[in-house]
């Protein structure tokens, strides 16, 4: 399990339903995504919830799908250093 400490993109949603619809759409398009808790730093409000995490190499394809298919989402944000398996910070 190699260390990953690089840039990630997160698609944020107003509701989980929008998140699942987006996940299904991306799967249809063959674009990998992973469900992740929305990082608080980019969530922008006093809550938490579902996001879809996208690897940088796939963000171009995601943006194309967002433009063409117009699915519902709140925002796309990037964040560096979000995943580091050797950070040893738990909760």
């Amino acid at each position: 399990m190699p260390e990953k400490n690089n840039l990630k993109y997160y698609i944020l949603f107003d509701t989980n339903t929008h998140g699942f619809a987006m996940q299904a759409l991306l799967k249809e398009e063959g674009i990998p995504s992973r469900i992740a808790p929305a990082p608080r730093a980019i969530q922008g409000e006093l809550t938490c919830g579902m996001s879809l995490m996208i690897e940088p190499e796939n963000i171009g394809d995601v943006r194309r799908v967002l433009e063409e298919k117009k699915p519902r989402y709140h925002a796309v944000r990037s964040l560096e250093g979000q995943i580091n398996p050797h950070r040893d910070r738990y909760c």
Binding site: A38, E45, L46, I83, R89, C91
Partner: protein
Amino acid sequence: MADNLQMWTDLGMDVDKHDALCQVLPTAFGDVYLSQENRPEGMGFYDFVVADIHGIRPSELIEAQKNGRKVFGTFCVYVPDEVVIAADGIVSGLCGGSQFWVEGGEKVLPKSTCPLIKASVGARLDRTCPFFRIADMYVGETTCDGKKKAYEILGEDVPMYIMDLPQMKREKDIVKWAEEIKDFAAKVEEFTGNKITVEKLNEAIHTINEKRKALARIYETRKSDVIPISGKDALLVMQIAFFDDPARCAEMANKLADECEQRVKDGVSVFPAGTKRIMLTGTPLAIPNWKLHHIIETSGAAVVCEEMCTGTRYFENLVEEDLGSLDEQYMALSKRYMKNNCACFTPNDARIDDIVRLAKEYNVDGVIDTNLKFCCLYDTERRNVERALNEAGIPVLGIETDYADSDAEQLRTRIEAFVEMLG
């Protein structure tokens, strides 16, 4: 997710304080879970549950309450879910697994209390967990002294019912536990306003047995040389099982088990061949306590079994089904639950037998006996655990830890040395 904020406010939560947890959880989950590669697709459900952990299930529970159903919060694998479900109630596990809640518990408990108890009390009194706000009644049990006294404090703030768990396993103790279950059933009937019938209890017993079988299927695949699922993913499944709807839990666990079984057939492992296989034994790992699994699995080893309440103790042994009277059903429940081997019992030789049996079944290279700080019961039992494993020729490492990050580096050093020693 603005709905969550409104829900938390309506529940009387301290949303500002709760936000500190919202800030650390995504990072910890990312580091521990999303750093993994080639996970089973079925883990997507569990990732989603964590992603909205204080939103999705709490909102379901509140909706059920609006329809007149009652939510019972529990802290232990001895409390029979079947009784609550038979009265159309809902069970939600309440054990706290985060350092975030510990400070709140320390305001009213001695510092020398185990972190699980401190976190559980802190989550309630600091109003920072929706599950602790939603539960209509808490159900405690007389397992350890720390919990018994903590229940007195919680009882000042929320309706509390205590089951008197025997501390020995003689025939008369099993009869006594059946009587306790019967008394609990009467309380549940009174609180919910619903009668428990033989038919309803049989249905509930079947539902929970199906959940146990589904979880057991996932564990069965972990016995294979090919390890289809990481220890931390299996742990997450178990942790979520404590508060998810039992039928959905069985459905999702069965889907994941299908996938894990296929992976075993196809030779798909999440660890390189030859990775050392570790079994954990000891005190429970309540959500979101992922520290030890993560350290082990980023130190060159894989966790393949947990002899814990958040592990085999939760699903091993089924309750006899289709009995014809409530008294027979209560006895059947007692017999199954009294097969759980907690260190609060004396003697507790059956747990030692379980550990050696499971170590062989899961073909482990070593065992890590891990106990939460200040749990003197499990700490004392360590002597018997180590002796039995030594006699069986199975290497064992004893660890005492809590929820804090401060000992992570030291743990990593000790675990890396242990794994290296396994050859």
